[in-house]
C-alpha cells in the first residue's frame, strides 16, 4: 500500500490554516476591539496580553502560504491571482498592525497613531481574509492551469458578508481571550462584549451556512444526500451545543470556557467547510490530487514536517506556558 501524500498534505495544510485562524484570530480580535477600550491603560493591558505570542501566531499564515506553494503549487498559482486585491490589502493591513506592537512603545506623542494603525490594521486584515474566504467558497474559474476570471470577481455580496462575519467571529475570539487573560475592568468589559460578539457569531454562522448551500448544488448534495446526512448533521448539532456552552460560560463568569467554546465554534465551522469542499481544493474544479506537487516533493517535505511540526507544537506550547496567567491592569507601562 502506498501513502496518499496529497491527502496527508491536504490535512496538514488544513491544520495550518485552522491553527492560523484560531491563533491569529484572537490577537486580530484584540485589535478589532481596541477602539472600544476606554483609556490607555486598558489598551496597554490588551496589547500586552498578545505581544509575546503574536509573531508565532502569524507564522502559521506563512506556513499556509509557503505550504500551499510547496505542496499544492497549482492551487497557489490559481488562488493568489484570483484573490489579488484582498490578499494585497490583507498584507498591507498586517504590516500596519504588526509594526504597531513595537512602534507603540517607542513614542508618547504619536502613540495614538499606532493605536489606530493597530486597530484599523487588525480590522482590515480580518475583513480581507473573510472576503478571500467568501471568494473561495463561491468558486474560482479556471482556464488551463491558470485563473480564468476577472479582477473584481472576488467582490460580491456573499464575500462582503463573509468578511463581516469573520470580523465578528475574530472579535468573539478576542473578547473571550481577554476574559481569560485579564482581570478587573478590562475583563468586565470583555464579558459584556462577548455576549454581543457571541450572539452575532452564532447568527452569522447560520446565515453563511444557509447561503453557502444555495451557491452551488454540489454543496447541497454534500449535506443532504442520504446516508451522508446522518453523519454530517452532527456538525450543526455540535455548533448549537458549543454555543450553549459559550453562553452558559459567560453567564457563570467562567474564565476559560468562553474562549475554549469560541475555539470550538471555529473548529466546527472549519469542519463544515471541509465537508463542503472535499475533494476540491479550489472549488468548483481543481481537486487535491490535481493540484498536488509530485509525490517526491510531498514525501521530501513530509519527512521534515513529521519531525518539525511536533517540535513546533511543543515549543509554541512552552511559550504560551511561560506567559500564562493574567496580565495585570495595575502594572502599567514603565
Amino acid at each position: 500500500m502506498t501513502l496518499d501524500f496529497a491527502l496527508i498534505w491536504a490535512g496538514l495544510i488544513a491544520f495550518a490554516v485552522l491553527a492560523y485562524v484560531i491563533l491569529d484570530g484572537f490577537d486580530l480580535g484584540v485589535g478589532i476591539l481596541f477602539p472600544l477600550m476606554r483609556g490607555e491603560a486598558h489598551r496597554d493591558t490588551a496589547m500586552n496580553s498578545v505581544a509575546p505570542i503574536w509573531d508565532g501566531n502569524e507564522t502559521w499564515l506563512v506556513l499556509g502560504g509557503g505550504g500551499l506553494f510547496a505542496v499544492f503549487p497549482l492551487a497557489y498559482a490559481i488562488v493568489m491571482p484570483a484573490l489579488y486585491m484582498p490578499i494585497t490589502i490583507m498584507l498591507i493591513a498586517l504590516i500596519f498592525r504588526g509594526v504597531a506592537f513595537e512602534y507603540r512603545w517607542k513614542t508618547v506623542r504619536a502613540k495614538w497613531v499606532w493605536d489606530i494603525s493597530f486597530a484599523l490594521g487588525s480590522l482590515t486584515a480580518t475583513f480581507a481574509q473573510g472576503i478571500a474566504l467568501g471568494a473561495l467558497i463561491q468558486g474560482i474559474p479556471v482556464v488551463g492551469r491558470a485563473y480564468g476570471g476577472g479582477w473584481w470577481d472576488w467582490l460580491t455580496p456573499f464575500s462582503l458578508f463573509t468578511g463581516i462575519s469573520l470580523v465578528v467571529g475574530y472579535a468573539l475570539l478576542g473578547s473571550t481571550w481577554l476574559i481569560m487573560k485579564t482581570e478587573g475592568r478590562v475583563q468586565r468589559q470583555a464579558y459584556r462584549i462577548a455576549w454581543f460578539t457571541g450572539m452575532g457569531t452564532i447568527g452569522l454562522i447560520g446565515i453563511v451556512s444557509l447561503w453557502t448551500l444555495f451557491l452551488n448544488p454540489v454543496f447541497m448534495e454534500r449535506w443532504f444526500s442520504m446516508p451522508r446526512m446522518l453523519f454530517v448533521a452532527i456538525v450543526p448539532i455540535l455548533v448549537l451545543a458549543t454555543a450553549a456552552s459559550l453562553f452558559f460560560g459567560l453567564n457563570d463568569r467562567r474564565t476559560f470556557r468562553p474562549f475554549l467554546s469560541a475555539i470550538g465554534l471555529f473548529v466546527l465551522c472549519f469542519a463544515g467547510l471541509g465537508i463542503s469542499f472535499y475533494p476540491f481544493i479550489v472549488p468548483p474544479s481543481v481537486t487535491i490530487w490535481q493540484a498536488a506537487a509530485p509525490d517526491n516533493s510531498l514525501a521530501f517535505l513530509l519527512v521534515g514536517a513529521s519531525v518539525l511540526l511536533p517540535l513546533i507544537l511543543c515549543y509554541t506550547g512552552y511559550s504560551y506556558w511561560v506567559f500564562r496567567g493574567k496580565v495585570s491592569e495595575d502594572e502599567g507601562y514603565h
Partner: protein, 473 residues
C-alpha cells in the same frame, strides 16, 4: 507615451518589496548572533557590561525583527499573486525548500522570540540564553534555506521537467547543494555579520565621541572593529571565490559586471567606464591591461568572454551590473581598510581615543546595507532575462496580470513602505542615539506581562541579576 507593461510593474514591485525586506534580515541575522555572543559572555564572566549591552541591542532587535516579519509575509504571497506561472512550474522544487525554511526557521525564531524579549524574569538565565540561541540559530537556518532556493534559481541542478511543464526534483541533495549555493551562503552570512558589525561599530563610535569612558560603547566599538579586521578580508576572499563560481556557471553575468562586450585573450580589468548596451561597448573605460584575465582565469593571456558571445535578447543589464558590482567591491575594500586602521590603533593603545577613526566608523555605519543591496542587485539582475537561469524566462513567469491592478498595488506598497518603515528607521535611530547606560533597562513591555505568583525571586532582587555565577534562588 506607452504605459509600462504589467510584467515590468510586477518586476518593479518584486524588486521594491524584496529590497526593503532584505535590509531587515541582513541586520537581524548578524544582530541575533551578536546578542547570543553578548549574553554568553555575560553568563560566562558575570560582568554587567555584557548584560547592559545586550539589553541595549535587544530593544533594537525587537523593532528590526518586527519589520522583517511583516515585510517577509508579503514576499511569501507575492510569488503567487504576481508570478503564478513561476509558482506553478517551480513549486515542486522550490516550495519544499521554502517549506523547510518556515518549519525549521520561522517557527523557531517566532516561538522563542517572545521568551527572548520578555521572558528573562520568567524562565531564568539558562533557559533565556537557550531562547536567544534558538533565535540566532533560526536566523541562520532561514538564511540556509532561502539562499538554497535563490541559488537554485541561479544555478539549477538535480531536476527534470514533467509532462505538465513543472520542474521536479530528481536528487534533493543536488537541488539543495546546487553549484552556487555554498558560495552564496558564506558570502551572505558574512555580509550580514559585517553589516551588523559596522552598524554596532558606528553606534559605539558615536557614543565614544561624546564620552570615551562609556564602557558599553567601548565594548561595542572594540568588538565591531575586531569583526571588521577579521571578517572583512575573509569576505573579500569569499567574494572572489563566489565570482569565479559565477564565471563558471553564469559567464554572461560576469561579462556584464566587468563591462566586457568583446571576447578576448588577455582581457583588461576595466576599473571605471560607462557600459553602453546599444553601442555594445564600454565608453570612457579606464583599464589595467591583462589584469581582467589574471583575476578571472589566473593567467595573463586567459580568454574572457564578452557579451557579444550571447544573443542580444539574453543579455543582462550591463550598466547596472557594472556599477552595483563596483559599489559593493569598493565598500568591501573600505571595510578592510577601516579594519586595518583600527588594528593599528589598537596595538598602539589608542583605539577609543582617535576621533578620526571614530568619525570614519560613524560614516561607515550604513555601508553594509548599501553593499548588501548593491550585491543583490548585481546577482539578481545578472540572472535576467531568466527567473530560472537558462530555463525559464522572466517574461514567461508572470501571472495573467492586469497592469492597472499591479500599478495600484505597487503604488500602495511604495507609500506604505516608505511611511511605515520610514517611521521604523526613525525609531531605530532614536534608540541608537540613546546613550547605553550602566543598568540598562529591560524591554519596555516586560513589566506588565508579569503576573502575580509566577515572579521568580530573582526579579525581586534586581541588583543580583548581574551575578549569574551564583545559584538561582
Amino acid at each position: 507615451m506607452d504605459l509600462p507593461l504589467a510584467i515590468d510593474l510586477a518586476r518593479a514591485q518584486f524588486a521594491f518589496t524584496v529590497s526593503f525586506h532584505i535590509v531587515f534580515p541582513a541586520f537581524s541575522i548578524g544582530l541575533a548572533s551578536y546578542l547570543a555572543v553578548l549574553e554568553g559572555l555575560w553568563l560566562y564572566t558575570g560582568r554587567a557590561v555584557y548584560l547592559d549591552t545586550f539589553r541595549y541591542w535587544v530593544k533594537i532587535f525587537a523593532v528590526v525583527f518586527g519589520m522583517g516579519v511583516v515585510s517577509g509575509i508579503v514576499m511569501s504571497y507575492q510569488f503567487g499573486t504576481n508570478w503564478s506561472v513561476f509558482s506553478d512550474k517551480t513549486g515542486p522544487v522550490l516550495g519544499p525548500l521554502l517549506g523547510y525554511e518556515v518549519l525549521s526557521a520561522f517557527f523557531l525564531e517566532a516561538g522563542f522570540l517572545g521568551v527572548m524579549l520578555f521572558g528573562m524574569q520568567r524562565v531564568g538565565r539558562k533557559l533565556h540564553y537557550f531562547a536567544t540561541l534558538m533565535v540566532a540559530v533560526g536566523t541562520l537556518f532561514s538564511a540556509f534555506w532561502i539562499l538554497s532556493a535563490n541559488s537554485w534559481m541561479q544555478t539549477p541542478a538535480g531536476y527534470s521537467i514533467n509532462a505538465v511543464g513543472q520542474f521536479v526534483a530528481d536528487d534533493w541533495w543536488a537541488v539543495i547543494f546546487n553549484p552556487s549555493f555554498p558560495y552564496r551562503l558564506v558570502h551572505m552570512v558574512l555580509a550580514a555579520y559585517l553589516t551588523t558589525g559596522f552598524l554596532v561599530g558606528a553606534v559605539g563610535a558615536w557614543h565614544l565621541l561624546r564620552d570615551k569612558t562609556n564602557a558599553r560603547a567601548r565594548l561595542m566599538f572594540s568588538m565591531a572593529m575586531l569583526m571588521a579586521t577579521v571578517v572583512a578580508p575573509i569576505q573579500i576572499v569569499a567574494g572572489d571565490m563566489h565570482g569565479l563560481n559565477t564565471l563558471e556557471h553564469q559567464p554572461a553575468k560576469i561579462a556584464a559586471m566587468e563591462g566586457h562586450f568583446d571576447t578576448h585573450a588577455g582581457a583588461p580589468l576595466i576599473l571605471f567606464g560607462l557600459p553602453d548596451m546599444d553601442a555594445a561597448e564600454t565608453r570612457y573605460a579606464i583599464e589595467i591591461p591583462k589584469l581582467g584575465s589574471l583575476i578571472l582565469t589566473h593567467s595573463l593571456d586567459g580568454t574572457v568572454r564578452g557579451l557579444k558571445d550571447w544573443p542580444r535578447e539574453d543579455w543582462p543589464n550591463a550598466p547596472i551590473l557594472f556599477w552595483t558590482f563596483r559599489i559593493m567591491v569598493g565598500i568591501g575594500f573600505a571595510m578592510v581598510g577601516l579594519g586595518l586602521w583600527s588594528l593599528w590603533l589598537r596595538f598602539r593603545g589608542r583605539l577609543y581615543d582617535a576621533p578620526l577613526l571614530l568619525r570614519a566608523a560613524v560614516g561607515m555605519g550604513p555601508s553594509g546595507f548599501v553593499a548588501v543591496l548593491a550585491g543583490w542587485v548585481t546577482t539578481e539582475m545578472g540572472r535576467q532575462p531568466y527567473t530560472v537561469y537558462g530555463l525559464l524566462r522572466t517574461a514567461d513567469s508572470a501571472s495573467p496580470l492586469d497592469a492597472p491592478a499591479v500599478a495600484t498595488s505597487l503604488a500602495i506598497f511604495a507609500i506604505v513602505y516608505f511611511a511605515v518603515f520610514g517611521a521604523g528607521v526613525f525609531y531605530l535611530l532614536r534608540l541608537m542615539g540613546k546613550t547605553p547606560e550602566a543598568g540598562e533597562a529591560d524591554m519596555p513591555t516586560g513589566g506588565p506581562i508579569r503576573s502575580a505568583g509566577t515572579t521568580p525571586a530573582l526579579s525581586l532582587h534586581p541588583d543580583r541579576r548581574a551575578h549569574p555565577g551564583k545559584a538561582q534562588s
